[in-house]
Amino acid sequence: MLFNSFTFAIFLPLVLAVHWGLSSRVRLQNVVLIVASCVFYGWWDVRFLFLLLLSSALDFTVGLLLDREQRQQRRKLLITVSLVSQLGLLATFKYFNFFIDSFSELVQTLGFQVNVPTLRIILPVGISFYTFQTLSYTIDVYRRQISAVRDPFAFFAFVSFFPQLVAGPIERASRMLPQFSAARSFVPLTAVEGLRQALWGMAKKVVVADNLAPHVNSIFQNYQSLDGVTLAWGGVLFSFQLYCDFSGYSDIAVGIAKLFGINLARNFRYPFFATNIADFWRRWHISLSTWFRDYLYIPLGGRQTSRLTSARNVMATFCVSGLWHGADWKFVVWGFLHGAYYLAWSWVRPNRVEPVAQQPRPRFVPTPTELIGIATTFALVTLAFVFFRAESIGHAYGYLLRGVTHPIEPIDARSGVALAYVFPLVAVEWTQRHRDHGLDINHLLVPARWALYLATALAIVEFGNFGEVQFIYFQF
C-alpha cells in the first residue's frame, strides 16, 4: 500500500479511529497497530509477512535469552545467531544473485567458463530497513545498553510499525520501545503537527519528486544525444527528485506516526544546504548514517586508530552503506565516492566542528564561504548520484563522459519547466532551514498559517502527479 494511494486514504482514518477508540489500553492499541501493519505490508505480497514475523520472532526470543544469560560465551553465541540469521535472510533475498553474478564474472575474467544458475528471487519490500531495526535491538541488548522487552506485542509493534516499516526512518529500540510500552493518549496539538508534516511530505513527493521523474528519466535514457549542460541539469534534477521522494516519505512517516502518538527520529535536515560532505552526512538519511556509525564504523575502530586504519574504516563504512542501497556495483561506487569525499575533507579540515546544522537560526543571506561550500558539496553529491540513478556503472560512465566531451551543443530539448518545481522548494526550505520542516509555521498568525496550508494542499491537488508512483527507497 502506498501513502499516495486512494486505498491508504481510506485505510489510515479507519486505523486511527480503531486505535484511539481503544482509549489508552496500550496492549490493545499495539495489537491494532500490528494488524494494521500486516494489512499494510501484506497489500504488496502476503507471503513476505511470514518473513517479517519470522525476523521479529527470532530477535524477540534472542533478546529475552540475551537478557537472562550471564555467561559471555553464550551471549556471544546468541548475538551471532541473531546476526547470522538476520543478515543471512537479507543476503539470500537481496544479494544472492548479485554475489553469484559477480563471482561468475570474476571467474570468466580469469579465463574460465562457468555457468552458475541464479534464482528468481523477489526482493521483499523494506527488508533492509526492518532487518537493521531488529538488529539494532539485539546488539543494544547484547551491549547491555537496553533491557530486553518482555511484551511481544510492544516488540512486534515496534518492528512492524507501518508508517516507517518499508522505508524508515530506521529506528532504535531505546527510543521506540518505551513509546510502545507506555500508555498513549491522543494529543490534538501533536496530531496537528503530524498532519502538517505529512502534508509537506506529500507535497514534496507528488508535486516535486513525481513531476521531476519524467524529466530525469528522459535525460538519463537519451543521454547519448544530449550535451553536458543538459546532462548536468539532469543530475541536479535527480538530486532533487531523490531528496523529495525520500525525505517526502520520511516526513509523511513521521507525520503519520505522530497521529498515533509515536515520535519517530528525524531523517533529513535540509541536506542540500550542507557546507561540506561531513555536514551533508549529518543531514542526509540520518537514521541510516548513524546506524552505520554506531554498529559498523565505531566497532571497526572509528578514528581512534592510525590514519590508515581510520581511512579503511571510513571507506568500508561508506562502501557497505552503498551496497545496503542495492545489489549492484554502481551503489558501491556511489559509496566509494562519498568515502573519498569524506576522507579528503577530513584530511583538509581534521578538527573542524560543523556549525551550520546546529545553528539555532542561520542568517537569511549566506556568507560567500557558506555559499561556496553549499555549491561545492551539492556538485559533489550530484556527481555521485549519477551512479545512483544510472542503470549500471557503464551507463554512469557514459553519461559523465558524454557531459565532458560534448559540453555545450545547440539542443532544442532543454526544458526549464522543472525549475518551477525546484525553485519554490528551495525557497521554502531555505527560509525554514532552522525549523523541522517546510510547514513548521507555528510562529505565524492563524490566517497566514491557514493560507499556507491551503496553498500546499491546492498545489498537491492541482499539480500533483497521482500515477501512484512508487517511492524510490522501497527497492532498498
Partner: protein, 330 residues
C-alpha cells in the same frame, strides 16, 4: 484544542480545499484557449480539450432509438464498422466507438444507453491494447465531447484519477459558460450518419517505431469485459466479440497475442458468445488499406465489411437480427 475541535477544523480545511479547487476549475474553464492549453499541460485540470467526431456521434445518439445493430468499442470500432452496409439490408445500425474506449468505459456507456437503443445485435470490439490501459483517456474523451453524466462520474470513480474527476467539473463549467471548444474534424475525415468516420488517407510504408512487447491485460478491464457480456445477455441482445484488423507490422509487435486471444476465446465461450479475429478473415495491404498502423481507411473498410457480413451470416446472427427486426413487438 480537543479531538472534536480538531475533527471540525479538519473537515473545514477539506471543505475549503474542495471549494477552492472547484473555483479554480471554474476559472480555468472560462480562460482563453491559449491559457487553457497551458493549464491542461501543467496541471491536473483538463480544460479546452478538442472535440471531434465523438461529439457528433453523441449528438446523433440523442435521437437514436430501437436500433438493430450496435457497434461499440475503441477507435477501431468507429473506423472499421460502417453502418451504411447494414442500411442496404434495411437494418438500422449505430457505431458508438470512442477513442481509447476500454471495457470499463463500454460497460458504463451500455448501462446508460442500452435501454434507449434496444439493439438486437451488439458487435463488441475489444482491441487488445484497450485491455491494458486504465480508461483515463477514454473517460476524458467521452466527458469532453459529450459532457459529464452519471456514467462518466462512475467511470471517473473507477479510475480514481484526479484528471478524470476534474474533467467532470471542467466540462460542466465549459458548457455552462458556453466555452466548450468547437467541434473540428481532421481534413481527411468525414463523419457519416450512424457514428462512422470515413477516411481515404493511406498509411504508406512507414516504420512503426515501436518495440516488440507482451500484452498484459489489466484484470479490472477483463472483469468489466465479462460484466459487459453479462449485461448484454441480460438485455436479450445477441453479441459477437471481435478484433478489428490492424496492419501485420502492428500485430507482429504483440508477442503473446495468441495467449490473449485464448483468454478472450475462453471468456466468450463462458458467456456463449462468438469471438472473431477479423485479421484472420481478410487479407489487407499494410500501406494501402490502413490510415495508420492500427486503423483502416475506407479502402480497407470496403474490403472488410463484406467479409464481416459473411461472418455474421455464418454465425446466423444476421438472420436472427432480421427476424427480430420484423417481429411485431418492434
Amino acid at each position: 484544542m480537543n479531538i472534536r475541535a480538531l475533527v471540525v477544523r479538519l473537515l473545514l480545511f477539506v471543505t475549503l480545499v474542495a471549494a477552492l479547487h472547484v473555483t479554480l476549475i471554474a476559472l480555468a474553464a472560462s480562460a482563453s484557449p491559449g491559457l487553457k492549453a497551458a493549464i491542461r499541460k501543467y496541471s491536473n485540470v483538463p480544460v479546452g480539450i478538442s472535440r471531434d467526431h465523438i461529439a457528433l456521434r453523441f449528438e446523433e445518439l440523442q435521437k437514436a432509438r430501437d436500433i438493430d445493430v450496435l457497434f461499440i468499442g475503441s477507435s477501431h470500432s468507429l473506423r472499421t464498422f460502417d453502418p451504411r452496409y447494414f442500411e442496404k439490408h434495411q437494418l438500422r445500425a449505430f457505431n458508438l466507438g470512442t477513442a481509447n474506449q476500454t471495457p470499463m468505459n463500454t460497460y458504463y456507456l451500455l448501462e446508460r444507453y442500452l435501454s434507449q437503443l434496444k439493439p438486437r445485435l451488439v458487435v463488441l470490439e475489444a482491441y487488445w491494447e484497450t485491455l491494458e490501459i486504465d480508461g483515463i483517456e477514454g473517460t476524458i474523451a467521452i466527458t469532453a465531447n459529450r459532457g459529464p453524466g452519471w456514467d462518466t462520474v462512475k467511470m471517473a470513480l473507477t479510475t480514481r484519477h484526479p484528471k478524470v474527476l476534474n474533467a467532470q467539473w471542467s466540462s460542466l463549467f465549459e458548457r455552462l459558460f458556453g466555452k466548450a471548444t468547437a467541434i473540428r474534424l481532421r481534413p481527411d475525415e468525414t463523419y457519416a450518419s450512424g457514428g462512422y468516420v470515413e477516411t481515404w488517407e493511406p498509411n504508406g510504408a512507414r516504420e512503426t517505431g515501436r518495440r516488440k512487447h507482451d500484452v498484459v491485460p489489466d484484470e479490472q478491464q477483463m472483469k468489466y469485459l465479462s460484466r459487459t457480456l453479462t449485461l448484454l445477455r441480460a438485455h436479450d441482445a445477441k453479441v459477437i466479440m471481435v478484433w478489428a484488423p490492424v496492419t501485420a507490422a502492428w500485430r507482429d509487435l504483440a508477442v503473446n497475442l495468441k495467449d490473449v486471444q485464448g483468454r478472450l476465446s475462453d471468456l466468450s465461450k463462458s458467456h456463449d458468445v462468438a469471438f472473431v479475429d477479423l485479421n484472420d478473415a481478410v487479407t489487407l495491404d499494410d500501406g494501402l488499406d490502413f490510415r495508420d498502423f492500427d486503423h483502416l481507411n475506407q479502402r480497407g473498410v470496403d474490403k472488410v465489411m463484406p467479409v464481416f457480413m459473411r461472418v455474421l451470416r455464418d454465425h446466423q446472427l444476421l438472420d436472427e437480427v432480421n427476424q427480430r427486426s420484423a417481429a411485431p413487438d418492434r
